[in-house]
């Protein structure tokens, strides 16, 4: 086969696969949002923008958007703080460092289901280990999922635990690129550890941080399974975010057009936010 033919066939295969697997579903989803369909095999009826006006006028949509923002922002803020803290400690030299580094990645390897089930077992009403520990300390029992605030706090807590390793690993890799001479020079100038962190570490790692926060924000906002498995969106919709609302609309109420509309709006919101984010924190990219 000639060089040209090899390339041409590679490219055609590539384009086809991309179109079929990535572009087609999204185009189909967006087009479904202009139709009404009450089962997955029913014939769709064109209704124009009616799904949009309907969805945007429900309080459930705005509630879900608000919950999603509260969930994403608190999860990201906490995991960045904890992740950076852990990375700074694991960057020191001490015996057993590689073991602790390995252990610190564990949460990221686990399937969400395993994490949620283990959490539920640990806080089980009567015999969970955390429930027992809290009782042994003489503290009042915590009802993890019963009030709206507690359910949201539990969702955030589990998510932070699950994703901190991502921040830790990215930050730890970034720390290796900061020249040690900078710290030495600053030390000679009589700075303390906190000053060195704010004036050397943070500015040097800003590019890493910008990317990490962006990626985590996008994925957290879209994450469905953690909250779904923990609370199912309850109690009374207090942890229901757009992914869950879209799922229940399409798959339990069989309002397929409505579900597609919510998913499309959620994507639009995300795309606009990312655009604004890049305006505020431009990536100084020399490579692309």
């Amino acid at each position: 086969m000639s060089s040209k033919a090899t390339f041409a066939s590679f490219l055609i295969i590539g384009l086809l696969i991309t179109l079929v697997l990535i572009a087609a579903p999204v185009v189909y989803a967006i087009s479904l949002s202009f139709y009404t369909m009450d089962s997955f095999v029913a014939d769709p009826d064109w209704i124009g923008l009616a799904n949009y006006t309907r969805v945007l006028s429900t309080s459930a949509f705005w509630n879900a958007l608000g919950n999603g923002l509260v969930y994403s922002i608190s999860t990201i803020a906490l995991q960045v703080i904890i992740g950076i803290g852990i990375a700074l400690v694991l960057n020191q030299t001490f015996r057993g460092r590689n073991l602790v580094r390995g252990l610190s990645i564990l949460p990221y390897l686990l399937p969400t289901v395993v994490i949620v089930l283990t959490f539920k077992w640990m806080v089980d009403g009567s015999i969970g280990i955390l429930t027992r520990a809290i009782a042994a300390l003489g503290l009042p029992p915590i009802h993890w999922f019963e009030s709206p605030q507690a359910a949201m706090a539990s969702s955030v807590m589990v998510s932070v635990w699950l994703w901190t390793p991502f921040v830790t690993t990215a930050f730890l890799a970034g720390l290796q690129t900061v020249p040690a001479s900078l710290y030495e020079a600053a030390k000679v100038d009589g700075t303390n550890a906190i000053q060195r962190f704010y004036h050397i570490t943070l500015p040097m790692l800003k590019p890493v941080l910008t990317v990490v926060v962006l990626l985590r924000a996008v994925w957290t906002f879209n994450k469905f399974d953690v909250i779904w498995l923990l609370t199912g969106g309850g109690p009374v919709g207090s942890t229901e975010h757009l992914a869950i609302l879209s799922y229940t609309t399409a798959f339990t109420k069989f309002d397929i057009g409505g579900g597609a509309t919510i998913a499309t709006l959620s994507f639009l919101f995300l795309a606009i936010s990312v655009f604004i984010y890049f305006r505020i924190f431009p990536l100084d990219e020399e490579e692309s």
Partner: protein, 275 residues
């Protein structure tokens, strides 16, 4: 660097706290899956024991777990193979030639990172149901490819970009065809990148709950994450069996991590991983 005794003590203490914070739930999952039923309710010991294998044998003999395990394995392996095949081809075409279609591919892959799962799942489910392939492992593989393919293309794109053209040119001067140079020179040199893509595709597919929940309806086709999650919906909570099932899904991942940790870390620090 010298440190005061107090400083060293504080460092080791925080390291221990980090280790416990990260690993205790995993440890507790394994301990619980092997603790005899009567002790589950009474014992407050943090050490393992009294040991039993009862939950594991219940799980393997009385539930659909073995079938679900095989379903998960099939879906994950097929996803890995298909992802590697296509992402190699796409990434190579995109890095080695200036062509018009290139932008479409790269942009689609970038946007795919931002797609809400339901934006993919609703149309996929509708499509597969309409063509009579609803509730099949094939449809689940297709859904997983929408996560793994962008990951593979992105990662290998970076990898091929940094590989000098001269290598292939030298091979071609020596009489290799373009395809031959690709197969004999580029691919072997990309092995670390390929391994990373394989690991993360496996991880994404193996741990996926969302797509499996939507695409699969029947018990016979369920994958482990969905099967396990449905155990908690039932009336009597069989925590021992649930923890045993959790341990069994996590085990292959720990094994892979122990053997291939450098590739895991490489992929995670490249920010290539969705989750």
């Amino acid at each position: 660097m010298t440190r005061s005794l107090f400083g060293r003590l504080a460092l080791y203490l925080t390291a221990i706290v980090i280790a416990i914070y990260s690993a205790f739930p995993v440890y507790w999952m394994i301990v619980s899956s092997t603790r005899a039923p009567q002790a589950m309710f009474s014992s407050t010991s943090l050490w393992p024991g009294p040991l039993t294998s009862e939950y594991y044998s219940n799980l393997l003999e009385l539930t659909d777990y073995p079938t679900q395990f095989m379903n998960s394995l099939t879906v994950a392996l097929v996803t890995v193979v298909v992802t590697m095949f296509f992402s190699v081809i796409i990434a190579y075409a995109v890095t080695r030639q200036r062509i018009r279609g290139k932008k479409v591919i790269v942009a689609s892959m970038l946007y795919a990172y931002m797609f809400p799962p339901l934006l993919i799942a609703i149309p996929m489910y509708t499509f597969f149901t309409r063509i009579g392939l609803g509730d099949t492992l094939t449809s689940l593989v297709a859904a997983h490819l929408t996560m793994t393919l962008p990951l593979g293309v992105w990662f290998l794109w970076g990898f091929f970009k940094n590989m000098p053209f001269e290598l292939e040119e030298a091979a071609m001067v020596d009489g290799c065809t373009r395809l031959g140079a690709f197969l004999r020179v580029v691919l072997p040199l990309s092995l670390p990148g390929l391994l990373t893509v394989a690991i993360f595709s496996f991880l994404l597919s193996w741990t996926d709950y969302t797509f499996a929940l939507i695409m699969i309806g029947s018990d016979a086709n369920k994958t482990v994450p969905v099967g396990l999650a449905s155990m908690i919906g039932s009336f009597d909570l069989r925590w021992g069996e649930i923890m045993a099932g959790s341990t069994l899904i996590a085990l292959p991942l720990f094994g892979a991590f122990a053997l291939l940790s450098q590739y895991f870390i490489q992929g995670m620090s490249a920010g290539a991983v969705k989750g």
